[in-house]
Symmetry: C2
DNA sequence: GTCTATATACAGATAGAC
DNA sequence: GTCTATCTGTATATAGAC
């Protein structure tokens, strides 16, 4: 896509369109968000939306970038904690992130699970994040084992994966069902994890 | 919807339309399945589809019923097995069912996770199945504990829930990612579960 | 019951004035 | 940059012949 030169007014408007699109795509999905709605809620005409972004698909990609911005894994503040506390912190962070980004998580999930258009774009990004999370967890488990804090028969790769899929399962339980027992389940998962890991 | 009287030919055709719709909705979702495609692949006209089913939505509901037919939980053959084997059998059955019904699972999942039309219809059915599965698991754990096979500190309700969400997590991992490590993870989950439960 | 032909609505996208 | 007006395609649904 070619970036036209914009004045201040243009940037402002373009940004408002983008923010509106990101919100609507997150809330209602690509299919259920007509350009007319984006235009209306951004208080511009359809034609202007398509002037800034060449097509609905281009708009989607741009909005996706914005939606994914808060998705990253911050590991800097893990230092100084023992391995158990590190794992616990990561699990809590995952949980809180999901709770704080329900709309976009639901949206991305829909993209990944369905045959929605252009899921290939996002699948790489989310996959990378997932793999990063897992490898960070596995490294922590490995270190804990080397230090003698965790059991010798801990399996860093599989234990990390199991923690992740369990977190994922709690997340979808939370996304799909009314009655939210996720806090209780999180506690129980932690107990189970550490009972398995800790010597 | 009013059921018109049909002759043999009508029933046959109606059934073919229904089967085609169920397959296409499962494969591509409601939004990506125009009536024209249903009609073409069922080798009838669009008008006939709408003669048998009053609207696309009515067709969807009818097809959904058919899609959900294989979704049930058979617990009769659990008798005679000890509690560990019962749990293992249920986990395997869940796993195999998902692998054998990828399309419809993916479809239902999409319905549940997204704001697709009429998800309320299906959510009850799937929710019931989920609750049934969990209560069956919880009962087995409770019995195993009473028998002294499982640890006294086993928590039937939470342990059952954790098994279920972990299974669910493995399932989505399997649905979303290319590299399929689900068999390995299933094994590891079982080990972890029984290490936690067994005395 | 099944068809062809058509009505109606709305989507994404373009043309051209300002 | 931003608009109004319009094009074009395709969707669901209906009318009416057979």
């Amino acid at each position: 896509m070619v970036e036209q030169p914009h004045g201040d007014q243009g940037l402002q408007t373009r940004d408002r369109i983008l923010a509106t699109a990101a919100r609507l795509f997150s809330e209602n999905g690509y299919e259920h968000t007509p350009l007319s709605q984006v235009a209306r809620e951004a208080q511009v005409s359809k034609a202007l939306v398509l002037w800034h972004f060449d097509s609905k698909e281009a708009l989607f990609r741009a909005a996706l970038g914005r939606t994914l911005e808060p998705y990253h894994l911050d590991v800097e503040d893990l230092e100084g904690l023992d391995e158990r506390a590190q794992i616990e912190l990561l699990m809590d962070r995952f949980y809180e992130f999901v709770r704080g980004n329900v709309y976009s998580v639901r949206f991305l999930f829909g993209l990944l699970i369905r045959a929605e258009p252009k899921r290939d774009d996002v699948i790489g990004k989310v996959s990378d994040l997932y793999d990063l999370f897992r490898s960070v967890l596995a490294d922590i488990i490995e270190r804990g084992r080397a230090r003698g804090l965790f059991r010798a028969d801990a399996n860093p790769r599989l234990d990390a994966s199991l923690i992740l899929v369990s977190l994922g399962g709690i997340l979808i339980e939370q996304l799909m069902r009314d009655r939210d027992q996720s806090a209780e389940l999180m506690d129980h998962l932690k107990q189970t994890v550490f009972r398995r890991l800790i010597v």
